[in-house]
Symmetry: C2
Subunit: 316 residues, 2 copies
């Protein structure tokens, strides 16, 4: 009896989903934009139209155990998405309930980063680890915290919002939350773009390949492409991003003393450009008892796979 | 058969200890200075000379189950105190082993703040709570984190060093660690004294009752006494301390989403002078999903009791 699960990862920009078999393999997957629909019902309709044929191809509903879903501010206790700053749907969205109605399948929802952490623990480089933290560096900065082999959800299900911890008092405004100086306002794809704009406008005298791009084309990818060509400002952007990230990671380590920190998401494509300054500033900001102990690693799972697998594991 | 345990709380300044009965009552207690002895063996000798008569009075060794001890940087896995910035004994001190040898009783050691958290969970205002954080505002700033009803010790036993997380980038130098801008450098008794000196020297034109004290007598207590008399600078000191503490607590809440934060230690004697600004800045720095949910409370246990009881519970 080969039973399947569906894993869905609602990201700030893209929603990725797939059908997962009993061996933990994603046998089919696809993606849709997350923010094209003002109404969550329209979003769910599109998701259903894409998933229905996949479900048919594995033999229909009776072969699907259920749907696991990760989303920003997703709450495992209530099945709701509550006030997610990076999503269009405002207020409290009863996502698990709406999904269950539409798909006629049991749906469990959790925080997107917690889903990724679960995927990493079951299938990735954190396999066998009891204490680790995953940080997703995408449109926003998500985090999943594992202590004693369990995802930390806290008293009300919202634990692990490390992207919103403040690392620079009075620092950069986060437009989604109105807070200043949060990790996410610097160490996300959005943050890297803002750092680029800041450095380019603050230093009009400095030459940079980045000046060849229109402001709309200034993304973390263009910064990366300029950095590997040796562009000084582009390299400075990653140095700065790594400094902020490293300092934040040091604070997190002194909280839960993990064995490893696993970095995910688009920004990790920058490789050592990001890893080196992050590690340096992480170590420098740790008490000696924590130094040179914590593994800082990039996820080995394909970017979208960890969250899809982790979400699907919710209903296993 | 009435069996007793011994609980010992090694603080930055004072070591408090007591004999605890099966009902969780401290039936006898005393204290010695923590930092009078360069040699840890001399410290243990003094501790032994004080505890031996107490042990005799409950019927001798055979009536003692063991010794539980809380100390800064105490490691429950190894029984060692490692590189504690606020203690005189440097390097790695095999405290549990030395105690066992001297007392001929099984000794378990943990972080002092973890011991306090355990005491609070068993006998204090966190009774029945599964998720809470205790913050000890004494000579230093300690912390004990409880998630799912268990003290968080992390991969290597050192989790919960929240006093050393950085809240002000490039901020005040912490003389013990060499780090800048850590919570402890502001929100400890030492930090309050430093804030007082800073404000008095930066604003020589401002009148203050605090100027009547010699620099040696400027302590968190004198600041408190001046504040309740309406002294503007003294009040500003608590406002500032509460701001830093509140911002830090907001970061911690977004990590583990606790039901409550329990504040302990000398500084809490300031009552609402500290509580009000702390709560205000804590709430202001939280994502909306966390606001007006987390109880911020002062410990109801007598200051020294929580840690003694919590430490004693290690060997229960």
């Amino acid at each position: 009896m080969n039973k399947y699960t569906i894993g869905i990862d609602v990201g700030g920009t893209t929603t990725k989903f797939g059908v997962v078999n009993a061996a933990g393999e994603i046998i089919e997957q696809d993606r849709i934009p997350s923010n094209q629909h003002e109404n969550v019902e329209d979003f769910i309709d599109l998701l259903h139209s894409k998933l229905a044929p996949m479900i048919d191809r594995v033999g229909g509903h009776e072969n699907i155990i259920g749907i696991g879903m990760g989303a920003p501010n997703g709450n495992i206790y209530t099945g709701t998405i509550e006030y997610a700053p990076n999503l269009k749907w405002k207020g409290i969205i009863p996502m698990a309930e709406l999904m269950t109605q539409k798909f006629n399948l049991p749906t469990k929802l959790t925080n997107d980063a917690n889903a990724a952490a679960m995927g990493e623990m079951m299938y990735g480089c954190a396999k066998g680890m009891k204490h680790f933290i995953t940080i997703t560096l995408g449109t926003g900065v998500g985090s999943g915290i594992v202590i004693d082999g369990k995802i930390v959800v806290g008293h009300d299900g919202f634990a692990g919002e490390l992207g919103h911890t403040v690392i620079r008092y009075g620092g950069r405004l986060h437009k989604g939350t109105g807070m200043r100086g949060s990790l996410e306002s610097y160490a996300s794809a959005t943050g890297v773009r803002e750092t680029a704009i800041e450095l380019l406008t603050q230093h009009p005298e400095k030459e940079s390949l980045l000046r060849n791009y229109s402001i709309n084309d200034l993304t973390s990818e263009t910064v990366y492409h300029c950095a590997i060509q040796g562009d000084a400002i582009a390299n400075e952007i990653f140095e700065f991003t790594g400094m902020i990230l490293g300092e934040s990671l040091a604070n997190f380590i002194m909280f839960s003393s993990p064995e490893a920190i696993v970095l995910f998401g688009g920004l990790t494509k920058a490789g050592n450009l990001l890893m080196n300054p992050t590690r340096k500033h992480m170590e420098e900001n740790l008490l000696p008892i924590f130094r040179n102990k914590v593994k800082l690693i990039f996820s080995e799972l394909k970017e979208s796979d960890a969250a899809i697998l982790g979400a699907s594991a919710l209903v296993m």
